[in-house]
């Protein structure tokens, strides 16, 4: 019969679905810089200053806490904990952020634990952004903001940080990259649902000043807009600068979700423990997304991070605090890398925070000639060439720009300096050798 013939046919051909399988929400969000560049680094790099993770160990007190939890005989740590956050962790986070924000926090309703800050961002966009909503994103931006806004059906609206090079010939600082207040104001419309703020900023390292935050806050209040505040690098600020939390500004607590990361706070990116802090009226919706997507986060890592925070709570403000020691160490590494790059003619933009540094590669362009036929921005081609031929991995700055603006800044690449001295020295060796090859050729 015809039925059994088609039955046989589809069986023997092992036929795929004949209709389109994927959901339309995936349109335009399938490309991902990290998938490509992580693979390249894994294949070619001798020195990896690309993806943002430390190559020095997580602090002993943290790994000790992990071991203690495992050895403690409480095997229920291998089972589900509270879905919205392991009680010891949400409690200590509430205590910690109460101090920092100067307000009372309920660990059950003002804090939620997520699978890294990445999932916190996802919960924010899914919970708070709908089709027809606009979300303002400041360029350059951590690349996931754009696809996440799109996946939620929203429209990203971009506003750039613009470089104002210092007149006195000194090296640029991330502070020299600024928003134009009139330009920022023009991006707010009645469709604007939220603005994403990332301070300290990845990739530039900019630490927004009180004045700059005040400007953003005023606009949020005026237009009744939410603020998704990605503060994962909150402890990594240098030169005595202060990280200011926009949620502490007038009118902002009630419209802000603050995002944090144990990975960045405690140099343990592989643990994937993050959190959100905010008013219950916003967090209740993030909880809905969380319970319908991931539900629980792994217990044992949360237990260890809670211990880590307990320690920091007792040592807060003291010199032994990891939150004081880590930025001190990283500042030295920053300065070392700045010198290293400047020494060979790559112009670093000195970051005020984070463990990233962007450098101008104009002086090194001769190795990678322009190619008008290429569909890739120049810095992508440069970074790929550099990892393949020099074994040094870095990330092109245009990875942090929207499609429309990818060709605005194509002479910059981003380095991560959360690396052992030996790694930074090895990077320097590569750069020195490269410089020599150029001058002698």
């Amino acid at each position: 019969s015809f039925k059994s013939f088609t039955h046989f046919l589809s069986h023997s051909l092992q036929a795929k679905m004949s209709r389109p399988v994927q959901a339309r929400r995936l349109e335009g969000i399938d490309k991902n810089i990290w998938v490509e560049f992580v693979k390249l680094a894994a294949t070619y790099s001798k020195v990896n200053l690309g993806q943002g993770f430390p190559d020095f160990p997580a602090p002993d007190f943290l790994t000790e806490a992990f071991r203690r939890a495992l050895g403690g005989g409480n095997h229920m740590l291998h089972q589900y904990t509270r879905a919205f956050g392991h009680p010891p962790l949400v409690k200590v986070l509430a205590q910690f952020f109460e101090k920092l924000l100067g307000r009372d926090l309920d660990p059950m309703t003002n804090v939620m634990v997520t699978v890294g800050a990445y999932q916190a961002l996802f919960c924010c966009f899914q919970a708070l952004v709908d089709e027809g909503d606009e979300v303002i994103i400041i360029e350059p931006f951590f690349d996931c903001y754009e696809p996440m806004v799109k996946m939620a059906g929203g429209t990203p609206v971009f506003v750039p940080l613009r470089p104002n090079p210092p007149k006195d010939g000194r090296l640029m600082s991330s502070a020299d990259w600024q928003l134009d207040p009139a330009e920022l104001a023009s991006k707010f419309s009645e469709r604007t649902k939220a603005i994403v703020l990332n301070s300290p900023n990845n990739p530039l390292g900019k630490v927004f000043s009180r004045g700059e935050l005040g400007l953003i806050a005023e606009l949020c209040v005026k237009h009744d807009v939410l603020c998704i505040s990605d503060e994962v690098y909150e402890w990594l600020v240098y030169d005595g600068k202060q990280h200011i939390r926009i949620a502490s500004l007038q009118g902002m607590w009630d419209r802000t979700v603050i995002i944090g990361s144990a990975g960045k706070t405690f140099s343990a990116t592989g643990w994937k423990v993050g959190w959100v802090v905010g008013p219950d009226r916003l967090l209740q919706h993030l909880r809905t997304v969380h319970q319908n997507s991931v539900y629980h986060c792994a217990t044992i890592a949360q237990e260890a991070v809670a211990q880590g925070f307990q320690r920091e709570l007792t040592l807060y403000g003291k010199p032994e605090s990891y939150f004081i020691q880590l930025p001190k160490e990283l500042q030295q590494k920053r300065d070392w890398l700045v010198q290293s790059l400047d020494g060979v003619g790559l112009k670093p933009i000195i970051p005020e925070g984070t463990y990233f540094l962007v450098a101008d590669i104009s002086q090194f362009k001769s190795d990678v000639p322009d190619d008008p036929n290429s569909d890739e921005p120049y810095d992508y081609r440069f970074a790929k060439w550099m990892v393949k031929n020099k074994g040094l991995a870095a990330i092109p700055l245009s990875a942090f720009y929207s499609e429309a603006h990818k060709n605005n800044y194509t002479n910059f690449i981003r380095f991560c300096f959360a690396k052992e001295e030996a790694t930074l020295k090895a990077a320097n060796d590569i750069l020195q050798k490269w410089k020599q090859e150029k001058t002698s050729s």
């Binding site: 039955h7 959901a23 991902n32 790994t63 291998h78 589900y80 890294g116 991931v294 217990t299 044992i300």
Partner: protein, 399 residues
């Protein structure tokens, strides 16, 4: 979420939420202790799954399935099987689609389908011949099932072994579903988290292995259920590259990577059991033997208390018909289904908790299932001892 608050009260014997209170095997805990000492394992790993883990998974499942599984393209590691369900549904389901859900169902299927903008279409398992002594007595009516498929049907969600009933779908039953999937060009999302927990006389069959099904099935597994480590929250989706790649896109836009140390420890545990997959001591088989005796003990206790358990062929849940006790709760809140009221009454008066079955049903079938509650029996002996005391004294206190 509602019923897990009960778990915090130590005076209540908690047979509700599906989490083991038995210890995971010692080598699993040891592997995690070992990884804590390795620095690089505290940093990011490969987004779609830690290399040693996807390699181990591909080996284990190649052996089970008898087909080649590419660790990099055919597998995605997720935050629990829950995360796999989410990634699959977000990747492949959208507005305008219909998704068939078999009732009773693990409660997240419905909200996840709705969140994707699609319409859930329910079909109940029905007790054949009015007899419900075993999970095998609960079946789908083939004509009724066929009537649920139409041109909008994008997928059917299959859960075998089944939570909450414990049904292990037979080859014939799977073939009926497969035939319809092929005929209507539908996907199959196969939640097989309890795949190793099948009891004597039963065999877990993967629908993806039926002819014509590999190319339209995403099969979901769970470390939590495999190794009694629900708190590790690691799961996986396995399927053909052209489907898995869309799940990977969702994953890279939702949480990007899963925790490294847990994935490494899991990989090591898998290697240990992979090497002894032909040996009865392999944890995949030894756990189910351990649970079978707990199942039998639980069933016996429930019967002695006058309750009617439905003996599961798989999984670690057992549903129980409580109507035989004739507990009159008509004066309690009328809007709530009977089983919700019964569980609340049982918690308060017997200090024993379970989950009401109507939590696992769509709106139309709540009445059909409201005389059942679900017990979890992956519990240590002392927990079952405490449950025994309550059940043995049950009739003395009933009034």
């Amino acid at each position: 979420v509602e019923f897990t608050k009960v778990a915090a009260d130590p005076s209540i014997v908690n047979l509700g939420q599906g989490l083991p209170d038995i210890s995971p095997p010692s080598y699993v805990k040891e592997e995690l202790a070992k990884v804590a000492a390795v620095d690089r394992l505290n940093q990011y790993t490969r987004g779609f799954g830690h290399p040693s883990l996807v390699k181990a998974l591909s080996q284990v499942y190649e052996k089970v399935c008898g087909r080649k599984i590419d660790p990099l393209t055919d597998i995605l590691v997720t935050v629990g099987a829950y995360g796999s369900l989410f990634s699959t549904i977000q990747a492949l389901i959208e507005e305008g689609d219909e998704v068939i859900i078999i009732e009773p169902f693990y409660d997240c299927y419905e909200p996840m389908v709705k969140m994707a903008g699609a319409k859930p279409v329910f079909i109940p398992l029905r007790c054949k011949n009015g007899n419900s002594a075993s999970s095998a007595d609960w079946v789908l009516d083939p004509a009724e099932l066929a009537s649920k498929f139409n041109s909008k049907t994008k997928a059917i969600i299959l859960n075998t072994p089944h939570n909450p009933i414990g049904k292990v779908f037979t080859r014939e039953e799977l073939q009926v579903i497969a035939d319809l999937c092929i005929k209507h060009d539908t996907l199959c999302i196969s939640d097989e988290v309890y795949e190793w927990l099948v009891y004597k006389g039963n065999k877990h069959i993967k629908i993806a292995m039926l002819p014509g099904m590999w190319e339209r099935t995403v099969t979901i597994g769970s470390a939590g259920k495999t190794y009694s480590v629900t708190g590790w929250k690691l799961g996986w989706s396995i399927g053909p590259e052209y489907l898995i790649k869309h799940l990977q896109v969702v994953h890279q836009n939702t949480l990007y990577t899963c925790p490294t140390p847990l994935q490494e420890a899991l990989a090591q545990a898998f290697w240990i059991d992979y090497k002894r997959m032909d040996d009865p001591d392999c944890y995949f088989y030894s756990l189910s033997r351990e649970l079978e005796s707990k199942r039998d003990r639980m069933a016996q206790l429930l019967k002695e208390a006058g309750l009617k358990p439905v003996i599961p062929d798989g999984g670690y849940f057992m549903i129980v018909d409580v109507s035989t006790l004739n507990v009159d709760l008509s004066d309690v809140d009328e809007k709530q289904p009977y089983d919700y009221k019964f569980v609340k009454w049982m918690i308060a008066s017997k200090k024993l908790s379970a989950i009401p079955l109507s939590a696992f049903c769509g709106p139309e079938t709540k009445k059909q299932f409201e005389k059942y509650i679900r017990f979890c029996f992956i519990k240590k002996d002392s927990t079952l001892d405490a449950a025994e005391v309550i059940l043995k004294n049950w009739n003395k206190q009933t009034g």
